[in-house]
Symmetry: C2
Subunit: 574 residues, 2 copies
């Protein structure tokens, strides 16, 4: 396949590039005692209290030794000193819900997320196909008919006008639907006789498949796309790491880790080029057992990698009307979405994981799905009394009668602030006003005693955590709409928002003793940025520039477009 | 399945046992400089020259610092000293061809290798089934109708008289045939209408399957046996490691590594209980790519584990008449064995591996198979000129006209001395005298310039390397038969035999800079035994007692039945 051949040649080169990145301009000797000084340091303690500091001492093990204020004395021996030039230092931000390999492949394939109309998308597809004549399949993602204002799904015919001679297969922005052209459907053997599989839907026009495949139907076409080779996976991982580090993210909960992805992570760990921390949640029980075996893996590569849990799906997404609702969709009266697992099934899978000590993270978007997971947790919590940290992923639409139940049993609500701003108008259309009282209800959940962890769902949204922080504290989108915020009572404070992307996200993956707070004994994972997130305006916060990202006490990213905060004196002592 | 339930309960316990083993009675501090003294030390250098010494200095990194003679001065600082009490020290022995997980499962299931007749086997099976009422399948291995003097394969009817109510599935000693009872065939859906698959044979009696499934037909029944769970695999790995260490083996080339096995090895490495060195050869190209990806893995866990090559099968085995011969079997005139891969296929697979830097190890037993592999290597060597170390596994029957060709292109003949003594009478029956001139032709291959690596094919034979050494220098079996040795011109010297199990086996897996010779900078992997293999009689050699086995400068096994050679003075200096 074209993707293979073109990427494979670049495989070693890209990996070399990653290694080179790790070396970059700030020369910190391995196993050095060091100081990063002259910073506006901010971190939260376990209780969410803000701690401010001006310098950080890093030990030979890459962990925080001490936080210093301006008046504190420095130790007599230092292997390196680095001047932060007054930048704000935060703990490395943690994305509590993302997809590392899909991000990497998005960076390597056609990205339609910036298109604003079907015509724009068609032009982009035509252009991409022309520029990549060697690719046998045109693969891409990021389309969103809601953003286009199309009022319907796009069709195979729409795609055929852009590219007809090669198969085209494009994943919707939410990952819950695929859009095929006629050639792709032909290769997949999809005809008018094809049946929608359980938990999925082949969209029809005039009784014939029209090119859109929702949820479980997605794989009808997807399985015919040539699988990427390991070398391509490694390139994708390298790209994802670079992107995340450049956005100030040093750790990510990887939702739906596959064996193939895991093997890439291990190659990176074994080869010394794993530069972010990945908290793996296997894509189903079979993957969990194949990857980790009888119990979670240990923390590997100095806490860079672990497979500690399993991701399960209870429903689909709101955009494709796959979210499982208690009552029919307002804009599709006959539909209540997809219940992917029966009550006994979801419980059996959760028990299977819990018995062997794995954490469960259940995707639940609709109010019926959330009520069902909460019910399952309530039942299981009677048997599994240990520190289970039951996670619900997305928790987007909750029946107000269920909100209080999220405050019990230590349930973690893993939510993505930017989804709220992206989904706002769609949610209103799908649900009508009366069901929005429990929609993206961050503050209500926090007040009920629920534990919040914030993420991006990258690559469904950009991983940019500053957009997430801004959305969390405003419930306004990047254009400041709606002014004053959508259902503003659900805004969180700046400290809550920061906790969601640091201490809360670390706790959600059993990593609170390792990262998320710049605390002596924790890894020295931090970023230097040009704004103070506790003081900056939301607009300033959205424009935050990540100047440097450090992982494990060593520089992992430096923004080439800013003046390096670097008048380091290697080996100097005072 | 019964095996599952009974083993799973023991999973953690057994792994704990392995950890406890590593601690044992000789207290060597981690990262210590130490001395093991008062030994009759023997090692070979890269040229096969014998080096004798009396003590070995071990560095904090677990590697050999220096070999000392009695008159050498000791360094002033030592963290530990250990008295070898005059025992002979050899480099840890390396098995150049074995199967780690099958050994582990053999140790956990019914082992028929000690049975001397069908009646004995039937009694053992009946007894085992009675003692293991919870096992839903009776699984075992090690049967050999040749050893029983049966003159035919056993049948399902023979098995039904032992156990009829539960499925029974027993693997032949060579791993190339399975023996099922009627219940197992029923579960597998095997009937008179079943067809032998390509590369395999369903044995028939009166036109109906009689319970024996050869080579590729093996899986017709085997795929219905419930797969072991990861916890059971870990128990099996622990058992295999204990067994090998107790036999003086510190490293093994694992032929046909599966992803499941690899995941066990990694769990052992990640968990700190990988106690032997495993040189992995993936079971086919798909497994190779799944396990290692685009190129061999690095050496992992301080050189304990690597996936560096692929094992390919070109034919079957002699016992089940699967070995591919140039002319028909003497005792089965219509048959020439199984050619598992066409000429283009074997070349394509070898190219696929070599392109990505993987070593190839091709199973070839019959003279046609060996001639074919040699021809393929000769062709490929023109393109792949680097240090390929083409391996042929077994090399049992070689047409004398092909022997010289084994001396070129750096071909490694990976052979198992004990197979010669086990197979002798069968080989005579299968081949007739005229074809034996190139049978198990160790010395002819060495004289042609071929590189020898010796192993056991465990669990097909016992891993006992002292039996292998004795067979290699005598070509007599454990009873001294035939007196003077079978085709004694093919005996090797004691030094050649030792090299086969040390330096030769290390070289065969690209490990010659790491293990196989006690040389400064190599890992301090060694054994203490009660005989000098360069002086002892073959009978004494066969009875060698392994007193201690050390891996990476730390004790890994101590024989509980011998007086510990231990008057260690921890932390003493002189």
């Amino acid at each position: 396949m074209g993707l293979s051949s073109s990427l494979e040649a670049n495989g070693r080169r890209a990996v070399s590039g990653i290694l080179a990145l790790a070396l970059f301009t700030i020369a910190t000797p391995a196993f050095a005692d060091g100081l990063v000084e002259n910073v506006n340091g901010i971190t939260l303690d376990a209780d969410g209290k803000v701690i401010r500091f001006n310098a950080i001492l890093i030990g030979k093990d890459g962990k925080v030794t001490e936080l210093l204020s301006k008046k504190d004395k420095l130790p007599p021996q230092l292997d390196f000193r680095h001047d932060g030039k007054g930048a704000t230092m935060l703990p490395g931000l943690i994305d509590a819900h993302g997809h590392v390999m899909p991000l990497g492949f998005q960076l390597l394939t056609l990205d339609l997320s910036a298109t604003n109309s079907l015509a724009e998308a068609q032009a982009a597809i035509r252009d991409y196909a022309a520029k990549n004549p060697e690719r046998l399949w045109i693969i891409g993602s990021g389309w969103n008919q809601e953003k286009w204002g199309l009022g319907r799904f796009p069709t195979a015919a729409d795609l055929d006008t852009a590219v007809a001679d090669r198969p085209v297969w494009l994943t919707r922005v939410d990952g819950h639907a695929g859009w095929a052209n006629s050639r792709a459907m032909e290769i997949a053997g999809v005809t008018a006789a094809s049946k929608s599989p359980p938990g999925g839907r082949i969209e029809l026009s005039g009784g014939k498949p029209n090119g859109i495949f929702v949820d479980a139907a997605f794989k009808l076409v997807d399985k015919f796309v040539p699988a990427p080779k390991p070398a391509e996976r490694d390139v994708a991982l390298g790209e994802a790491q670079k992107k995340l580090l450049s956005q100030g993210i040093t750790a990510i909960a990887d939702m739906g880790t596959t064996m193939d992805a895991w093997q890439s992570y291990r190659r990176a760990g074994d080869g010394g080029w794993l530069s972010i921390r990945i908290f793996g949640y296997a894509g189903g029980i079979d993957a969990m057992v194949a990857i980790a075996g009888p119990r979670p893996t240990p923390w590997l590569y100095d806490d860079k990698l672990r497979l500690g849990g399993v991701k399960l799906f209870l429903d689909g997404a709101l955009g494709s009307r796959g979210a499982w609702l208690k009552k029919p969709y307002t804009d599709a009266p006959g539909q209540t979405g997809l219940q992917i697992l029966a009550p006994a099934e979801i419980r059996n899978l959760m028990v299977r994981a819990s018995m062997d000590g794995f954490q469960t993270a259940v995707h639940a978007i609709g109010d019926a799905a959330n009520g069902e997971v909460i019910g399952a947790i309530e039942e299981l919590a009677e048997t599994y009394k240990g520190d289970q940290r039951w996670r619900i992923e997305h928790v987007q639409i909750v029946d107000p009668v269920d909100l209080q139940r999220l405050g019990k049993h230590g349930i973690i609500s893993s939510m993505q602030p930017v989804h709220q701003t992206s989904d706002r108008t769609m949610a209103e259309a799908r649900l009508g006003q009366e069901r929005l009282a429990g929609a993206y209800a961050w503050q209500s959940i926090a007040k009920a005693g629920g534990k919040l962890a914030f993420g991006s769902d990258v690559p469904i949204e950009s991983a940019d955590p500053f957009a997430g922080l801004a959305a969390a504290i405003t419930r306004e989108d990047a254009n400041g709409q709606p002014f004053g915020g959508w259902r503003p009572e659900e805004r969180v404070t700046r400290e809550q928002a920061l906790a969601g992307f640091t201490t809360g996200a670390a706790y959600a993956s059993f990593a609170e003793g390792k990262v998320g707070s710049l605390t002596p004994g924790h890894h020295a994972d931090f970023i230097l940025i040009d704004v103070d997130p506790l003081l900056a305006s939301p607009a300033e916060l959205r424009k935050a520039v990540v100047k440097e990202t450090w992982v494990g006490g060593r520089p992992a990213y430096q923004n080439a477009t800013v003046t390096p905060a670097d008048n380091q004196k290697d080996g100097e002592t005072r």
